[in-house]
């Protein structure tokens, strides 16, 4: 019998599995789709210090900043600095008393936040005038009353979850993605003692017994709790982001939407992300669609502060469902971002725990609290070490791009991207090139993904298909959205998995379908041209679906 079965492969589930495995518990992690397939992969990718909590709870900000510092320590390669600008607009160039008062209050606010910045190696804020703001970001709207700068960090959330899962496995946990729960096993007094599992790809069924079961399923959490007859109440909210085809700015830009909410323009890897919306969601978390009014809302906010947004092409729109804590009354945006750990013993399901709410940025701390609760219940487990022991690739400084390029004869751009995604493990990935010359080539030139990186993910990172490879390596997430890479990646998949041609091409089509889903809500002129080219490549020339 295991100590702990963790259900859910988001940042909480993978974080809990890692923490528990490192404390010496015997652990299994299951996920019905793939790591970060839900809200953990559909957020702004920020490791922030919780500046917004300052207004209500200074201690939350302090804790968030400390944890942001810890994440820098354990995954230094995965974090990238996003300096931020908060522009204050004027009407027709004259700062009113209200504009100046707003600027002054912002100055006080960020001066307060500055006290916590050293905890996460963040830079101090600065009050900037219109000229200074435009010197930093020439694309900002004209005639600002001024603005503030501050400092935050971004992360690739998909890799964060994958690395947590890999680290858990290295500490002895069994990892099973593409595995869903069919039912919970019950013992004396209704004790939850494990679960029936079904592999989503092979259909294989099994039962796993565990002394504790952790429900870390985010918006799907209520469904799992219901299997134990427990009501888990959430107020789920849908958040939409759009991705632009380019880096629009060097700074993150904070904007005000038409209804007064904060919407951010974020430089993220080679793209720009604009988001997010926040609306109550009553639908199925497995079927979240983006509507064009949501896209227009985001672009309208961004355009007011950064008119050049309209020159970029919107690559796609995507959505996730936040597992926000239940509260009746407040507007979505005012709901608490706090988290709660439930022990369902009193609800008649001892052995079952759930975690709900929270933020990506504080996942490590939340996992620590969650595993503390399990350890108390089980009466075993060493102290937490997730804040000191690095994630895979974070053990040492990543080798320089020049050295990787020279030694392994790969394009410098691909070496740079590989070094970001894999840190000190980059040479281990590139060592695969010694097998065959071909693995040095780029499968996805937009994101600099080498065939070797795909092979590594298929062999060592629990990737089962092209959609998993997208999450591991950003395959197909660049400007052509899969037009270049779906075929080559399918070919590599076939080799690595000894699959049939039909199976490999089904993988290519699945990637194209998933990319199309994000394309549909943003079908403007350029998106239509791209779709014509992509479909020409795969369905006209490639005859992917065979003869009509």
């Amino acid at each position: 019998m295991l100590d702990l079965l963790v259900i859910g492969g988001g940042v909480n589930g993978t974080g809990i599995a890692r923490d528990a495995a490192m404390r010496g518990l015997s652990v299994m992690l299951i996920e019905k789709k793939d790591f970060a397939a839900g809200a953990s992969g559909a957020n702004s990718g920020m490791i922030h210090g919780g500046a917004r909590y300052l207004l209500t709870d200074r201690d939350l900000t302090r804790i968030a900043c400390i944890d942001s510092g810890y994440i820098q320590r354990i995954a230094p390669h995965l974090l990238f600095r996003i300096p931020f600008l908060f522009p204050v607009l004027t009407k027709n160039g004259h700062a009113t008393l209200a504009d100046r008062a707003y600027l002054y209050s912002a100055e006080c606010y960020f001066a307060e936040y500055d006290r916590f910045q050293p905890l996460k190696n963040g830079k101090q804020s600065a009050l900037l005038n219109d000229k200074e703001m435009h010197d930093l970001e020439p694309g900002l709207a004209k005639d600002l009353a001024g603005g503030l700068s501050t400092d935050e960090y971004g992360i690739d959330p998909f890799r964060l979850c994958t690395l947590n899962a890999r680290s858990a496995a290295e500490h002895g946990a069994e990892i099973a993605n593409h595995t869903e729960v069919t039912h919970l096993l019950r013992g004396d007094g209704g004790r939850v003692e494990g679960a029936g599992l079904r592999h989503a790809l092979t259909g294989e069924r099994r039962e796993v017994r565990a002394r504790a079961v952790f429900n870390a399923c985010g918006a799907w959490g209520p469904k799992i709790a219901a299997l134990a007859g427990v009501e888990l109440k959430l107020r789920p909210a849908k958040g939409v982001h759009v991705t632009l085809d380019r880096r629009l700015s060097n700074y993150g830009v904070s904007t005000r939407s038409v209804d007064g909410r904060d919407v951010f323009i974020l430089p993220h890897e080679d793209s720009t992300i604009i988001g997010t919306t926040d609306d109550d969601y009553y639908g199925d978390p497995d079927d979240v669609a983006v509507h064009d009014d949501e896209v227009k809302y985001l672009l309208q906010s961004a355009e007011a502060y950064f008119p050049a947004v309209r020159e970029a092409r919107v690559l796609r729109a995507w959505a996730g469902v936040r597992p926000t804590l239940y509260e009746y009354g407040p507007l979505e945006d005012k709901l608490s971002r706090d988290h709660v750990i439930h022990d369902h013993a009193e609800a008649g399901a001892p052995g079952l725990f759930s975690i709900v709410g929270g933020k990506l940025a504080s996942f490590r701390l939340m996992s620590e609290e969650a595993v503390d609760a399990v350890c108390r219940a089980l009466g075993k487990g060493a102290p937490c070490t997730t804040h000191t022991l690095p994630l895979p690739g974070g053990e040492a400084t990543a080798p320089g791009v020049d050295a990787l390029t020279r030694e392994h004869q790969v394009p410098p751009f691909a070496a740079a991207r590989l070094s970001y995604r894999h840190g000190s493990e980059a040479p281990r990935v590139l060592a695969l090139c010694a097998e065959r010359q071909e693995l040095r080539a780029q499968a996805c030139p937009c994101e600099g993904v080498l065939f070797a990186e795909l092979a590594f993910a298929l062999r060592s990172e629990f990737a089962e298909g092209l959609l998993d490879l997208r999450r591991r390596c950003r395959l197909g997430m660049g400007i052509c959205q899969g037009a270049r890479c779906a075929g080559p990646a399918a070919a590599l998949y076939q080799e690595e998995r000894k699959a049939t041609a039909d199976e490999a091409l089904a993988q290519a089509e699945a990637l194209l379908d998933e990319r199309w889903k994000g394309h549909r809500p943003v079908l403007g002129n350029d998106a239509l041209a791209q779709a014509e080219l992509t479909r020409g490549t795969y369905f006209t020339t490639g005859a992917l679906r065979g003869a009509p």
Binding site: H291, D292, V295, Q409, P411, C433, Q437, E438, L439, R440, A441, Q442, A443, F451, A483, G487, P488, A490, A491, L492, Q494, E495, T500, A501, D502, A504, L505, A508, E509, L512, D513, R515, W516, K517, R520, P521, V522, L523, G524, N525, L528, A529, A531, E532, L533, T534, R535, G536, T537, Y538, F539, T540, T541, G542, A543, L544, R545, G546, A547, P548
Partner: protein, 428 residues
Amino acid sequence: MNADVAVVGGGMAGACAALAASKAGARVIEISRAPGATAVSSGAIDFAATSSGESLRAGAERLALRPGHPYSLLGKDLGAALDGALLLLRHSLSSLGLAGARTGADGNLWLASPLGRQKAAALAQGPIAAGDLHALPAGARLGVAALCGGQAIEARLIASGLHQSLSPASSAVALDLDFYPAAADAQRQLAEIAADLDRPGRRSAFGEALSRAAKRAGATHILVPTVGLANPVAAQAELGSAAGLPVFELLGAPPSVPGLRLQRALEAALEAAGVIRVRGIAERSLSAQLQIIRGGECEQVSCKAVVLASGRFLGGGIRCAPDGTLGDSALGLPAWAGARRRIVSLMNEELAGQRAGDRHLALEAGLRADSRLRALDEDGRPATANGAPVFAAGAALGGYDPARGDGGLGVAALTGRLAGLFAAEAAR
């Protein structure tokens, strides 16, 4: 500038319109902004999907039953138009060794696709057409050349896909070559390989490498990703004699070598026919029929008929304005996606299906035309450019999707040729 007929667009539809009008005695000017969809096409010219053994005409007539398909406009003239287009292409593109169907009574070729599927097309460039999979002798063993880098990985997928569809009568196998052995060779792109093969001595060395690999694998026929860029007929012959086996070429995915060749051959055919070619952006003129914008210059074009053969979204002929309104980019004529003038990106099944390969009316958007291929205005009447009739051809016409077997470059050639003839007639 003065001309009888002004053709906007220099891809397959525009070239066929200009060639046909020129042959009919008109003085023709062809205006194109840049290479478009034709230049990234695969090297296959598809008129209609057919089942194996079915005639092209039968396939085309089936498409003509679909409301909105350009073939549905042509009534009983469709068969003659099909024959005429095949003849025009074979005649004008002889430098590519174009082969396949001679008339509508013939069937499609079945060509190896870059994904290892079989792609049906009426015509293809010589080295591609020679690889008609349905014409392979029983017992043939097709060796797919795996050269270097990503191409080598893809070659193994192609070989396994073809093997699946060819067996048990014949088989396919990947040929691992030692032609590009260096680590840096992994980064070579197909167009670079094609250019390399055109260098003195390289193609015969490649042929010898193919011969060695084919012997090892017991291949009887060889499929290569490219024979070179410049002269496909001579290149195929050279490779074949060096390899000692028949050598065929795969269709190309963008950026496609055969597509580049096709574009060049069309341009050469236009030059040879005496068509005046102008690079620039064509737009509506207040004083003449069209004006051409080139950098800071603006030149008026007086003509007696206009042909819009400017492509769809990829070619730039059809634009979707920021508010979703569809129109042609030169004259601003209305375009439709199904029954809609605007693309509203609501989650609307009618305009955009759920899966990438589904039918999407948004991607079939284009101009409407009458049975004489005259472009129609908002009220359904033939449109004019300052009094001159306007014809439409190729992807600028709505109602067909090459990705769904509705015909691709073949529809462009067929409607282009007709639009050119009609325009020349109107100019007389």
